[in-house]
Structure formats: C-alpha cells, structure tokens
Amino acid sequence: MLHSVNARSPWVRTWTEIRGNKLAFLSFGIVVATALIAVFAPWLAPHSPEAMQLVEGRLLPPFFMEGGNTSHVLGTDATGRDVLSRLIYGSRVSLCIGIVPVFFGCLIGIPVGLAAGYLGGKVDEALMRVTDILLAFPSILLALIIVAFLGQGIFNLMIAVGLASAPAFARIVRSAVLSERNREYVASAESLGSATPRIVWRHIFPNITSSLIVLFTINFASALLEAAGLSFLGLGVKPPTAEWGAMLADGKNYFYDGWWMIVFPGIAIFLVVMSLNILGDSLRDALDPRAAKR
C-alpha cells in the first residue's frame, strides 16, 4: 500500500466509511432523501400546505383508518390542512433551520477557536472566558433569550440557534488547534517565516477539518432539534408556515383524537435527527485517527 488510511483526504475517508457501514449508509440515504424532498416539495406535495378546510375535512385520519381517504394520506390537521403536504413543505424549513445556524455557528466559532488556540495567552484567556459564560447557559435557554430579544421569525430563529451553537465550535476548534500547533510541520512553517494567518489557514486548518465534519453533522442534528423545540414553544416560524416542531405544537392538544398530527412530524424529526447522529458517530470512527478501526 502506498497510502496509509490517514493520509487520504477526509472526504474520501468519509465516503469509504459510509459505504462500509450499513447503518451509516441508511442514515446517509435518509438525510439525502429528506434533502431531495425539500428541494422538490412543490412537485411532491399533493396539496397546498396552507389550504384550510374549516367546514368539511378537519381532523381527517390517515387513509388506513376508518374515515380517512387517499387524498389526505396522512390525514388533516385541526384546520383541515393536509398533514403530508405540511410535512413535505416543513422539511424545507426544518432542514434550513438545522443547517443554516450551523454554518452561522461555524462562521463565528471557527475563527474564535483558531485565534484562541494558536495565539494563546491573553487572547485565549479572554475568548475562552466569554465562551465559558455562553456554555454555562443551556443552549436552548440561550436561544430563547436571543429570540426574545430579536423577536419571532425564521431568520431570528436561525441566528439564535447559530449563536447558541458557536461556543461549542470555538471550544472544539481551539482544542484541535492546541494539539496541532506543537507539531513539527507547524514549527517548520514558522521557521520558514510564514505569516501567522497563513500558518493557521493553510497548515493547521486542513488538519482539523475531520473534527469539524463530525462536529458539523452532530450540530446539524442538535440545531434541527433545538429549532423544532423553539418552534414548539411558539418562538419559531410564524404561522401558517409549516415546520415540524410547530406542527408538533399544533397537534399536542389533539393527543387523543388527532394522534396523526403529532406522530408523523415526530417520526420525521426523529428519523432525521437520528440519522444525522449515526452519521456523525460513524464519521468520528472513520476520521479520528485515535478511534479509527484497524
């Protein structure tokens, strides 16, 4: 063999790992399928997600139950909107409010972590104390405070969840940088007179991407869950936008006679979050040299 496993690019290793692990492959499939559903929602949804039927057609059960019909495969909600169509359109919002905040969190967390880890000293001290303060709040509480401050709405929700996930990124990037900065290749770059930003971006950063891919996947899952939670609490999307967490909140008063209103969005959230977590786990196995399978 010319290459050791660890010498391959993290993306190649990621793909190899996913293909080799049935559970991870299934999870990957679910995430990709959800993304495709989100993209092609207008063609896939049988009804408009906002079309109400207040007079006839409220609380229709799923097709397999008595009283249900195949026009509304998963039934209708308390205002007669098609649950399946809302789930399909909801995947757009739910995936967005899962992924955008994580990018946002990266955008803040990675530079902070890089700076703290590489520069050390007072900079590290200052940045990490701020991070500590933010980490001391449960992230959902932090997001709640931010939403309360900025007001309700999808955009604010994404900012809130993103800001709440930034400290975790900063922390992990910093520790990854700390373990890298004393390696020989950094020392050699320094001795060659490279500027600090160049060392950080060109030498250190590529070596911590594997940790970041894992963190990104796991955080995607938790951001999605958190956003659903905030929507459930009524702080997320504005009605009548379909979103899985908001659908759960709408359905909770119909626990007895409209179980389909909570069960289906619940399953959707569960499937995507679980898939992302499994993916994250198997990626960690693949990318962490210390945890790698031999």
Binding site: L54, V55, R58, A78, K252
Partner: protein
C-alpha cells in the same frame, strides 16, 4: 385582565331601587331551584375544580382576573348580589335597601346575625371598612394594595361622597350625583365585605388569608398548585353540601384535559371546543354543561393607522372573512357569528343590523373603490392564550389570513406573551389585533362604552380600535345618564347602526361557554357573568 374597566355605568335595574327583599327576615335560599332528579342531595364530599391558572391574590378588591375572583366568589358576599344564573339584582348581605328620590343617597339594612369566618359580626362598621379602604387615601387599610383597580375603574372614587353608620346594622352611602348602575356595582366582586379584624391582623397579607362571610372558608393555598376551601356551616344563605372544594391549577390545556379524562378533577374550566368533543367521546360518564357566554371576540383595526383609516377598507375586510367557517371549524359550532359588538342576549341589541355578507367579489370591489385594487400588506396580532370568547387565537388568525389572501391582502401574524400583548394593543402598536371581552353585569354600556367610546382611546386604551366617532361617543355618554331602559336601549341601537357602518372591528363570535363535569356533580349553575359559586353543588356517591 380582560375584566377590567367593567363598565362605568350599568343599570336597567331601576325597578329594584325601592324594592325591599321579598324574603327579608327569613333565612331561606334565593337560589333558583335546580332539578336534582330523584336523588336527594348528599352531604359531604370533596369537589376538585381544575382550571387554567392560579389566583393572583384572594382579596376581591385588589384583583381583576377571573382566576382570583372565582375563588373569592365562594369566600365573600356583597351587599346585593346577582341572582344565580342571571344579571338580576337580589338581596345579599343587605336584606333591604332604599334610595332617596333624587337618587343620591342609598340606605342599606344589613341582614342580622351574620358572622365572618373568624367569628366577628358583620355590621355597619365592617361594610364601611371594606368600601372605604378602597376609597379614602387616609384610611388605615388604604395602603395595603398598590392600587384599588376596580373601585377607580368603575369611577367609584369620584362617585361616592360619604358613607355613614346609621345604626349597628344600617349604612348610608351618599353619592356625588345620581348613577343608575350604582346598585349593580355593589353586586360586583370588588364590593365584597371583608372582615376588618382579619385585615387589621394580616395587613397586606389579608390577600393570602381571606376572611369573609361566604359559603366556604379559606383553608390553605399552595402557590401554583391548589387552593383549599372548607364549607362554612354557619352560612346565612343556602348552606353548602360539599365538605371541601379544591381549586387546582393546571395551566397547560392538554394536561388539564388529561387530568379530567383520568378523573383527577371533577370539573374542567375552559376546555377548547375540540376538547369538548374528545370528552364526550372518551368519557361518556361525564356531562358537559354549556351556556351562551356574555362575550364577544373581535378583530380590531387600528383606525389611526393607514390604510385602516379608510372605512371602505374596513368594510372590504369585513366582507372577506368567512365567519361561518370559523364558527364551524374553530369554535366547533360552540358559538355564533357576531354581527354587533354586544351579544344578542343583552337588552339593547340591534336586530336590524345585518351581517356583512361573505363575498370575495364584493370585497375586491370595495378595496378597488378604496384605492387598493391590488390589496396591501399588513400585520395581525393574535392572542397567545385561550380565552372563553376565543378558544384558539392562532387558528382564528390563520383562517383570517387565508381569507384575506384571497382579496390580495397579505397578512403577517405576530404574537407576544399575554401581558405584553395587552400592553402593546392598549398602546396601539398593532395594525390589526384579535381580542375579546367577557362582560359581567349585563349592561350594553359595559361593552359599547368601554370598547368603542372615543373617551377610551387614550393609551393604555380599552378601545384598541382607537375608534373615535364623536356621534357615537355622545350617544354612549348620554345613555349613561338616562334612567329609562327603553330610552337607553334605543340609544344603544343607534350606536350599533353607526358602528356597523364605520366597521372599526370585524366582530367574530359570541362563544358558548362549556363546563365539562363528572356525572356525580349535581346542582352546578352556570352564570352569564362567569362567576363560580359552589354552595348549590353536591357530589353523588
């Protein structure tokens, strides 16, 4: 909160002004007979009443919210009271009263031998103490509340001139001017008679240790959880059959439903219409009592903001909302589409005013005439909580949003925490807002003057449409001073005609109020003013 400013004037009970109690001197009951079936009422038992929130305090003069006042309903009495299940006035702690012909001096003769729960006697001093503590800034107990809201909101602070003790059992109250609704005011909770001994003993904490003359005595209060009351066997009226009543707070509505289905509570306050359907299906052993509520749910346009300063726009939006679908789909039929701001059960209701018929074409035509052929963008505030008049503000808002979309009006929905919501709407920050009103004395003034008079447009305003039509304001003011009910009724009818044409609101619904209860609960009477009194109630084995 929505029960504040409960009408500065009411009336329609002038016929009673000179009346003396038919039942004076007896200890008989004034409760309308209730069909108890073949069973004889059982003594004893503990009734558990599940409700959506805890009381703020238990001093009936301090608080304005239903959850506080409904507990006080059982602990305290008033000089005169609303006959159970009606808004008619009947003797309470005063067995008779008289009024001078000029209408400015009332003399109340107290029922003899009535004792407070702490054993002290009810006398003229106690009556004067209870009322003057809210009135006289120099009174020893005046400082025990931050504000005596109701007293001031009802205008009692400027109305009452003097209160004097004629003898141990007679009180004379002199007014600055004649006021038709004075007697009805005296039947409202804020005019409850409290034990002066207890107030002196507990000071501010009287609100946590209430002592009155009512059918139940206060036992304990676990904040956020339960309030326990025991029967007062010495009660002067219909003696309670129950040994104990427990008010349990279960704020989450689905948790409250679960508690009822699991038989943890005997009665469930404020179920949503869909929950009523669930209860009927899941607990066939329960009964659901319901009665038309004395209420209205409405959408208020902020007429001071464009484009709602244009009556054509307001009429167009009125025409675009399919109220029947809202009643059927969101109220589950537990209500009726509102035409006027007052419910049809009130005297003075104008039956000749006709609903803006639902028509998208007509609505588009009106919008075009108003200069908005392509519609416009606006916002609608919806209530975050369920109220008796509106079970689900969010769904109503979504339905209205969908309706208005059809005429090109793009509505964005917003909501806030309930206290903030009331503040924002009172300050006129909204363009359109959903709100409602539960009246509790049966006078049209209680709705029309409070909610639509130009006098109430100064923030924090009760008139959240900020509707200021001088003609309407004049009529409403005039209707306060006239004493004859038929004249007042025609004034209110005229006001409704103008209001309908100006359309400052979309009146949405008058809801029915439902009370699911265990089949074992007997003798409960629903009241139009949403009081909860349990001395007629008994629990079967």
């Amino acid at each position: 909160m929505n029960r504040r400013h409960l009408g500065k004037v009411l009336g329609g009970h002038f016929g009673l002004l000179l009346a003396a109690s038919v039942l004076a001197g007896t200890n008989a009951t004034f409760i309308p007979s209730v069909a108890f079936g073949a069973e004889t009422p059982r003594e004893g038992g503990v009734l558990i009443y599940g409700r959506g929130g805890d009381s703020v305090s238990l001093d009936p003069a301090k608080e304005t919210d239903g959850e506080s006042l409904n507990v006080c309903d059982n602990i305290f009495d008033t000089l005169v009271q609303f006959k159970l299940g009606t808004t008619e006035i009947e003797p309470g702690l005063a067995e008779s009263w008289s009024v001078t012909p000029d209408g400015t001096s009332y003399t109340f003769k107290l029922r003899p031998n009535v004792k407070f729960h702490d054993g002290t006697p009810l006398d003229a001093d106690a009556v004067i103490f209870s009322l003057m503590r809210q009135h006289d800034a120099k009174h020893e107990a005046y400082g025990y509340a931050k504000a005596w809201n109701y007293w001031n909101d009802m205008g009692m602070n400027t109305l009452v001139k003097a209160m004097t003790k004629v003898d141990a059992n007679t009180v004379k109250i002199e007014l600055a001017r004649p006021e038709a609704p004075f007697l009805a005011n005296m039947a409202m909770q804020f005019a409850s008679i409290v034990s002066p001994t207890a107030v002196r003993k507990f000071k501010e904490d009287f609100a946590k240790n209430p002592v009155g003359t009512g059918p139940f005595k206060f036992v304990s209060w676990t904040k956020g959880e339960r309030i326990v009351l025991d029967a007062n066997k010495e009660f002067w009226g219909q003696k309670p059959k129950l040994a104990r009543v427990i008010f349990r707070s279960i704020p989450d509505s689905s948790a409250r439903l679960n508690a009822f289905l699991a038989k943890e509570i005997h009665m469930m306050n404020q179920p949503t219409p869909d929950q009523v359907a669930t209860i009927k299906q899941r607990r066939p052993d329960a009964s659901v009592m319901d009665a038309p509520g004395m209420n209205v749910a409405y959408l208020a346009f902020n007429v001071q903001k464009k484009p709602f300063d244009n009556a054509k726009v307001r009429q167009a939006l009125n025409t675009a909302v399919n109220k029947d679908a809202i009643i059927k789909g969101i109220y589950s039929g537990m209500g009726m589409a509102a035409v006027n701001p007052i419910p049809p059960s009130l005297w003075g209701y104008n039956t000749s005013v006709k609903q803006y018929a639902y028509s998208i074409e007509r609505s588009k035509q009106l919008l075009k005439e108003a200069g908005f052929p392509n519609g416009f963008k606006t916002t609608l505030y919806y209530m975050p909580v369920s109220r008796p008049y509106m079970p689900d503000g969010k769904k109503v808002a979504e339905a209205i949003q969908a309706d208005l979309k059809k005429i090109g009006v793009e509505v964005s929905l917003s909501t806030y925490e309930w206290g903030t919501y009331l503040d924002k709407t009172k300050n006129g920050e909204h363009e359109m807002a959903l709100l409602g009103w539960s009246g509790d004395n049966g006078d049209p003034d209680n709705f029309l003057h409070v909610l639509l008079s130009g006098e109430n447009t100064k923030p924090p305003a009760a008139n959240i449409a900020f509707y200021n039509n001088t003609r309407v304001t004049d009529i409403l003011r005039q209707a306060k001073t006239v004493s004859e009910q038929s004249k007042r009724a025609s004034l209110y009818q005229e006001a409704q005609t103008i209001i309908h044409k100006d359309a400052p609101w979309i009146p949405i619904a008058h809801s029915r109020v439902a009370m699911p209860m265990d089949k074992r609960v007997n003798g409960y009477v629903m009241t139009p003013n949403e009081t909860r009194r349990f001395n007629t109630v008994w629990l079967a084995k």
